[in-house]
């Protein structure tokens, strides 16, 4: 299945916060229409990796990024329009962030920024994204209610709908199920499996079994380093190069 050019190509990526090394020389490729899982214990650099992909270092004067990140062949550290990049790359954070506006406005926010003004067009985008995020049926009668009134699981699906509203090429999910109940988690996982027909997904998770259920290939991060990348099934069936990977997926340390 991985026969075309990589969607995302990372070479020798290092991330530091002040003196603290968060990622050290990571290289990996993510191919179109796959779900790429990243597993690893806390503080292994998973979130820093996602932050670098969206040029989030610009929020944080402490954060420095070195190395090459090629998105569709373009080095994103050298592009001129970081806002356009962020519109192509959707992010879902670990804790749902419903912006302090209505459900409708939450989803219509990015399209409006992109210059779409027609009500009918926005209506269509909002409905489509909420349906894809498996939230439409629950909120279609109260689109004008505040997004922050929704339950945690609903808010997380709202943030997914919001991330989809900008038609991203790449969707980054950072431990999306932390604040979500198991039933909702399963529903979102089903949504992700459908979405990968159209877009590429990078899924950071600390639930090893979630990576196993969803990811086509999985990378194991440990102590700021990439230990190895492999087809998910191989990783879990014990065909691993590194003993540490086996220990981690079998729950023997962490």
């Amino acid at each position: 299945m991985v026969d075309n050019a990589p969607k995302l190509s990372v070479r020798n990526l290092s991330v530091r916060y002040g003196d603290k090394q968060a990622l050290n020389g990571i290289s990996l490729d993510v191919f179109p229409n796959e779900i790429f899982g990243i597993i690893g214990p806390a503080n292994s650099g998973k979130t820093s990796f996602l932050r670098a992909l969206n040029r989030m270092e610009e929020f944080d004067p402490n954060m420095t990024v070195e190395g090459d990140i090629l998105f569709e062949g373009q080095d994103i550290t050298a592009i001129r329009n970081v806002y356009a990049l962020r519109r192509k790359v959707g992010v879902v954070f670990p804790l749902p962030v419903g912006l302090p506006m209505s459900i409708y406005e939450n989803v219509a926010f990015a399209p409006k920024l992109g210059g779409i003004k027609k009500k009918a067009e926005l209506d269509e985008i909002v409905e489509r994204c909420l349906i894809r995020a498996a939230l439409w049926d629950e909120v279609k009668d109260r689109l004008n209610a505040l997004g922050s009134l929704l339950s945690g699981g609903q808010q997380q699906r709202l943030t997914i709908a919001r991330a989809l509203s900008q038609n991203p090429e790449l969707l980054l999910l950072d431990e999306f199920s932390i604040a979500v109940d198991p039933v909702t988690t399963m529903r979102i996982e089903d949504v992700l499996k459908e979405l990968k027909e159209e877009i590429t997904i990078v899924l950071v998770t600390n639930l090893v079994q979630q990576a196993r259920r969803l990811a086509d290939r999985t990378a194991f991060f440990l102590e700021s380093e990439l230990v190895e990348t492999a087809e998910t099934e191989e990783l879990f069936s014990g065909v691993v190069k590194d003993q540490r990977t086996r220990d981690y997926v079998e729950g023997r340390f962490g």
């Binding site: 989030m56 610009e58 962020r86 804790l95 302090p100 506006m101 920024l113 992109g114 919001r162």
Partner: protein, 314 residues
């Protein structure tokens, strides 16, 4: 020793411990009584001030004062021997025009400063700006009045070629600059209270700094910003010394910013010392006090309703 006897002794020692009040308990009681007294005393003081001001003014206000004349006449001649008149229309327009102009000056300045400090400045710049703004807030009002008289006055005369520089313009600008620091501080607190996760979420979707501030941060902080502005309005209404010195203190309904006016507060401050206790003049000044009290109360009430009304949606 049999086991049950040992158990008895153990449970009796626990019982003693559970029934003995330690030192902490007494400290806790004393502190809570002290805090209660502090809280209640604030309420007692406010009620006391209200009762006193009302007692001094209300007899006159309900008795010999012609309320229609009070609110609609521009003639404020409390010291006239033959025919004293007590019309505060000119004083009200004086206070309103100065406060209005002060808001025009202070709202853009303070919101701009607050947005810069909260959203753009970082590290050293931010800290030193905050200290500086707080320092500005501590300048006594008589100093502002002095600036109005000795710097703004000749400046206005020269710039606009007008005979007098003590006017609505002078007092409004002085009052605006005076109110801006405290408004900045409160507005900045309101902006800082907006969680960073909102900013990150919006920026992650490709919003520019400007779009984040206008579409996410300002709407999220609007309660606090409203409070800051209303605090400034209250400051404008209540400020006395700077307005007295910079406004020209002339009874007048202003038709241009270069007209001198007189404010309600300044009138009380300037005249109360010369009145005999219990006289009509004394009574009418206290009536002005009641009037100011009522206005401030209404402003606070509006602020409360606005803040709660907005809060309910959340």
């Amino acid at each position: 020793m049999p086991a049950d006897v040992q158990g008895d002794r153990l449970s009796s020692s626990i019982a003693t411990e559970l029934n003995t009040r330690g030192w902490d308990w007494y400290v806790d009681r004393v502190v809570s009584i002290g805090v209660f007294a502090g809280g209640v005393s604030a309420i007692i003081f406010i009620i006391g001030i209200f009762v006193f001001v009302t007692r001094e003014g209300l007899d006159f206000a309900l008795g010999s004062l012609d309320l229609k004349e009070f609110f609609t006449s521009i003639n404020w001649r409390p010291t006239s021997e033959r025919n004293p008149t007590y019309g505060i229309l000119a004083l009200m327009t004086g206070t309103a025009s100065v406060t209005g102009l002060a808001m025009l000056v202070s709202v853009p300045f303070s919101l701009g400063a607050a947005i810069y400090i909260a959203e753009f400045a970082s590290g050293r710049t931010r800290e030193s700006l905050k200290v500086l703004v707080e320092l500005l807030a501590a300048i006594p009002s008589v100093v502002w009045g002095f600036i109005g008289m000795s710097i703004m006055n000749p400046l206005i005369i020269e710039m606009f070629d007008v005979p007098v520089g003590l006017s609505v313009l002078n007092a409004g600008v002085i009052l605006g600059l005076m109110a801006a620091p405290i408004m900045t501080t409160i507005a900045e607190d309101a902006l800082k209270a907006v969680p960073d996760s909102y900013r990150e979420a919006a920026e992650a979707m490709g919003a520019t700094r400007w779009q984040v501030i206008f579409r996410v941060v300002l709407p999220a902080a609007k309660n606090g910003l409203m409070a800051a502005i209303l605090l400034g309005v209250g400051r404008g209404f209540g400020e006395t010394m700077a307005v007295l010195m910079a406004s020209g203190h002339a009874i007048n309904i202003p038709t241009s910013p270069f007209d001198s006016v007189r404010a309600i507060t300044a009138t009380i401050a300037a005249e109360l010392g010369d009145t005999a206790r219990g006289s009509d003049h004394y009574g009418v000044l206290f009536t002005l006090g009641i009037f100011l009290f009522v206005i401030t109360f209404i402003i606070n009430l509006i602020a409360d309703v606005v803040v709660k009304g907005v809060g309910r949606q959340k």
